[in-house]
C-alpha cells in the first residue's frame, strides 16, 4: 500500500485504493485481536455449560457439547461459595459508598483555594503515590488496628485512593466558583455548598469513580488471601485464587481426569465447577460493562488532564 501511495501521490483514485487496502488490513488485525479476547471467554463459557466428565475428554471448543446446568446448580448449592458471593457483594457496596463519601468530601476541601495548609495536604497525599511503607509495615499496622481477620480490612485500608482523589478534585476545579459564591450569599455554609452545589453537579465523576471502586472491590483477592485467615470471610476472588493455587501446585498432568475417577457418580468435576464460578464472577461486570463503558473511558480522560 505504501508503494501505491508513493508512486501515485497525485492520483486521487489510486490513493483511494491504497487507503482501502490499509483499512482492510487494519480491520483484519483489530478483528484478530478482538477474537483473542472473545474466544477464550467463549471457551470458558461453553465449558461451564458442558457436562464436567464430558469436558474432561477434551474437544469442547466454543459451544457446549453436552449441555447441562448442573455446574451452576452445584455452585449455588456450595455453601462456602454462596457465602463468598455475599462477602464480595457487601464489601463492594459498603466499600464503594464509604470511598465515595470520603473522597468527595476531601476533594471538596482541597478545592477551596483560601484554605490554609491546602498545598501541604495535597503534597502529602500526592507523595503517597510515589512512595509507601511497603507490605510488612502495612501488615503490622493493620494488626495493631485490629483489622486483620475482620471484615473491615476490606473496607477501611482502601477507602481513599490518592489517584482518584486528585481526579475528583480536578473535576471539582471545573465547577465555576460563581455558583459557590451565590450559594454562599443565599446563606449556605461550606457543608451546604458541598451537598447542594458540588455534589449535584458532579454526577459524572461520581459515577466514574464509583464504578472504578466497585470493580476494584469486586476483583480484589489479595486482602482476602493475606489479611484474612478464616476462609469464612473470604470474598469469592480469594476462594477462586485458593482453588487456582491448588491446581497450579499439582504437577499431575491432568487433574480433571484424576478427580473424575474419584467422584464418578457425580458428573460435575471440580474443573467444571470452577468454570461456572468464573462465569458467575465475571457476569456482573460483563452485563453492565457495555452500558457503563463510556463512563470508564471518561474517567481516563479526566485523569489525563491532570497528568
Amino acid at each position: 500500500m505504501q508503494a501505491a501511495n508513493k508512486t501515485k501521490v497525485n492520483n486521487k483514485i489510486k490513493m483511494g485504493t491504497g487507503e482501502r487496502i490499509l483499512q482492510v488490513l487494519i480491520i483484519v488485525l483489530v478483528t484478530l485481536f478482538s477474537l483473542c479476547i472473545l474466544l477464550p471467554c467463549l471457551n470458558i463459557l461453553s465449558l461451564s455449560f458442558n457436562d464436567g466428565a464430558d469436558a474432561a475428554k477434551g474437544g469442547v471448543y466454543f459451544w457446549p457439547r453436552v449441555f447441562t446446568l448442573d455446574n451452576f446448580a452445584e455452585v449455588f448449592k456450595d455453601g462456602s461459595i454462596v457465602r463468598a458471593y455475599g462477602i464480595t457483594i457487601s464489601r463492594t457496596v459498603l466499600g464503594t459508598l464509604l470511598s465515595l463519601i470520603l473522597m468527595t468530601v476531601s476533594a471538596y476541601v482541597l478545592k477551596i483555594k483560601t484554605l490554609p495548609g491546602r498545598n501541604f495536604f495535597t503534597l502529602a497525599i500526592a507523595f503517597t503515590m510515589l512512595f509507601s511503607g511497603g507490605l510488612i509495615p502495612t501488615y503490622i499496622q493493620y494488626n495493631k488496628l485490629n483489622l486483620l481477620n475482620h471484615f473491615w480490612v476490606y473496607i477501611f485500608p482502601g477507602a481513599i485512593s490518592a489517584y482518584y482523589l486528585i481526579m475528583i478534585r480536578t473535576f471539582f476545579d471545573t465547577i465555576p466558583e460563581s455558583l459557590e459564591e451565590s450559594a454562599q450569599i443565599d446563606g449556605c455554609g461550606y457543608f451546604g455548598i458541598y451537598t447542594r452545589v458540588i455534589l449535584p453537579l458532579s454526577k459524572p465523576i461520581i459515577a466514574v469513580i464509583g464504578l472504578y471502586c466497585a470493580v476494584n472491590h469486586w476483583n480484589d483477592w489479595f486482602s482476602g488471601a493475606f489479611y484474612m485467615n478464616s476462609s469464612k470471610l473470604w470474598p469469592v476472588q480469594t476462594v477462586l485464587q485458593q482453588m487456582l493455587n491448588k491446581a497450579m501446585a499439582s504437577t499431575e498432568e491432568n487433574t480433571s481426569i484424576g478427580q473424575l475417577i474419584a467422584q464418578n457418580a457425580n458428573t460435575v468435576t471440580s474443573d467444571s465447577l470452577k468454570m461456572a464460578a468464573v462465569i458467575i464472577t465475571m457476569l456482573p461486570i460483563l452485563c453492565v460493562y457495555p452500558f457503563i463503558q463510556k463512563y470508564f473511558t471518561k474517567g481516563v480522560m479526566i485523569g489525563a488532564i491532570k497528568g
Binding site: 488485525l29 476541601v109 484554605l115 495548609g117 509495615p137 502495612t138 476483583n219 476472588q237
Partner: protein, 328 residues
C-alpha cells in the same frame, strides 16, 4: 530519640492544625482564616486520619528494616541491627536470581510492552468505520476489568495439557497436544508477556487515542500538500504531537520497574517455573508473610521503594531536560 522525632514528623498534619487553631496570639490573619475554615478542617479530618493511619505510620514503620522485630516489643521497642538485612540480602544466593527475574519482568513490561498500546491506538485512529471502531474498542477494554485470578484460572484451563483448547488445536493440526505450558519454564516469559499485553493494550490505548484526536487536522492537510504518505504523517506529525503523553506514561511506568506484575507472577507460579517466577515482590510475601521475617522483608521492600522513587524522579528530570515534559 530518633524514632520520636520521626513520629512527630509524620503526625505534623494533625499537630499543625491543632496548634494553629488554639493559638490566639500572633499570626492573627492566619488564625482568623483557619477559624473561618473550621468546618472544612472538620470535613477533612477523616482524610487526615486515614493518611496517618494507613500511609504515614506504615511509612515510619520502615525503620523496621534496620531492626530485629519482636512481637513483644513492637516496632519502636525492637533492637537495632543496622544494615544487617541489606548485607544478608546482597550477599545471599537468591539476590542475583531475584534481581535478574525482577528486572526481566520489569523491563519486559516497561520497555518491550510500551509501544504496543501506541501502535494499537494508531491503528484504531486510522479506522474509518466508526461503528467497527467503537465495538473493537469496547472489546479491547474488557480484559482490564477481569481480575487476575479469573484471567489465570481461564488461562490454566485453556493451556491445560491434552484437554485444553490450545493443545486440542495443536493435536488437531497434527502436533503434540500434551505440552504442559504452565509447567515449562521456557514458556513463562512469553506467557507473562502476552497475558499482560492482552490485558492492558486496549485500556492503555485510550489515553493515546485521546491525545491523537487532539492533534490539529490542519497539520495533516499541510503534510498532504507537501506530499507525505500515511507513514510519514504518522511519523512526522502524530508521534511528535503526542510525545508529551508518551513521556508522562513512560515516566509513570518506569517507577514500577522493580515492582511490577505481582498479581500475575504470584498466580502463575508452578513447580515448573519457580526459578523464574520468583521476583522481589513474591519474595517479600514469602519471607515476610509466610516465614515471618518482618525486618528482612521490610528491608527488601524498602530497596524496591527507594529504587522506584529514584527512577521516577530521575526519569522525570531527564524527560524535562530532553523533551520539556514532566509529570510535575
Amino acid at each position: 530519640m530518633k524514632m520520636k522525632s520521626k513520629a512527630n514528623f509524620y503526625t505534623a498534619t494533625e499537630a499543625e492544625v491543632i496548634r494553629a487553631m488554639s493559638k490566639k496570639n500572633g499570626f492573627k490573619n492566619l488564625m482568623k482564616s483557619i477559624w473561618k475554615h473550621k468546618v472544612l478542617y472538620l470535613m477533612f479530618l477523616p482524610c487526615i486520619v486515614y493518611y496517618i493511619l494507613f500511609n504515614y505510620i506504615p511509612m515510619a514503620g520502615i525503620v523496621l528494616a534496620f531492626k530485629k522485630y519482636s512481637f513483644m516489643k513492637g516496632i519502636w521497642g525492637s533492637d537495632w541491627v543496622g544494615l544487617q538485612y541489606f548485607k544478608t540480602f546482597f550477599t545471599s544466593y537468591d539476590c542475583v536470581k531475584l534481581l535478574r527475574n525482577t528486572l526481566t519482568v520489569g523491563l519486559m513490561k516497561c520497555i518491550l510492552e510500551f509501544p504496543f498500546a501506541i501502535i494499537f491506538a494508531l491503528l484504531l485512529n486510522e479506522l474509518r468505520n466508526a461503528k467497527f471502531k467503537k465495538i473493537s474498542q469496547t472489546i479491547s477494554y474488557l480484559p482490564h476489568f477481569m481480575s487476575s485470578v479469573i484471567i489465570i484460572t481461564m488461562l490454566q484451563r485453556i493451556l491445560a495439557p491434552d484437554n485444553g483448547v490450545i493443545n486440542q488445536l495443536i493435536s488437531a493440526f497434527g502436533g503434540d497436544g500434551s505440552t504442559f505450558f504452565l509447567m515449562k519454564s521456557q514458556y513463562f516469559y512469553p506467557i507473562l508477556f502476552l497475558l499482560d499485553l492482552w490485558k492492558n493494550i486496549g485500556w492503555d490505548s485510550i489515553i493515546y487515542l485521546a491525545a491523537i484526536s487532539g492533534v490539529d487536522p490542519s497539520l495533516y492537510e499541510a503534510a498532504e500538500i507537501d506530499g507525505c504518505n500515511k507513514m510519514k504523517k504518522v511519523w512526522h506529525i502524530t508521534l511528535p504531537s503526542i510525545k508529551g503523553t508518551i513521556g508522562v506514561l513512560f515516566i509513570l511506568g518506569i517507577g514500577g520497574l522493580l515492582s511490577s506484575g505481582f498479581d500475575q507472577i504470584y498466580l502463575l507460579r508452578t513447580p515448573g517455573n519457580m526459578e523464574l517466577a520468583d521476583t522481589l515482590d513474591t519474595y517479600v510475601v514469602r519471607v515476610g508473610l509466610a516465614n515471618g521475617q518482618f525486618g528482612y522483608a521490610t528491608a527488601i521492600g524498602l530497596i524496591q521503594g527507594i529504587v522506584g522513587l529514584i527512577l521516577v524522579l530521575g526519569s522525570n528530570k531527564l524527560s524535562k531536560k530532553v523533551t520539556e515534559v514532566g509529570i510535575w
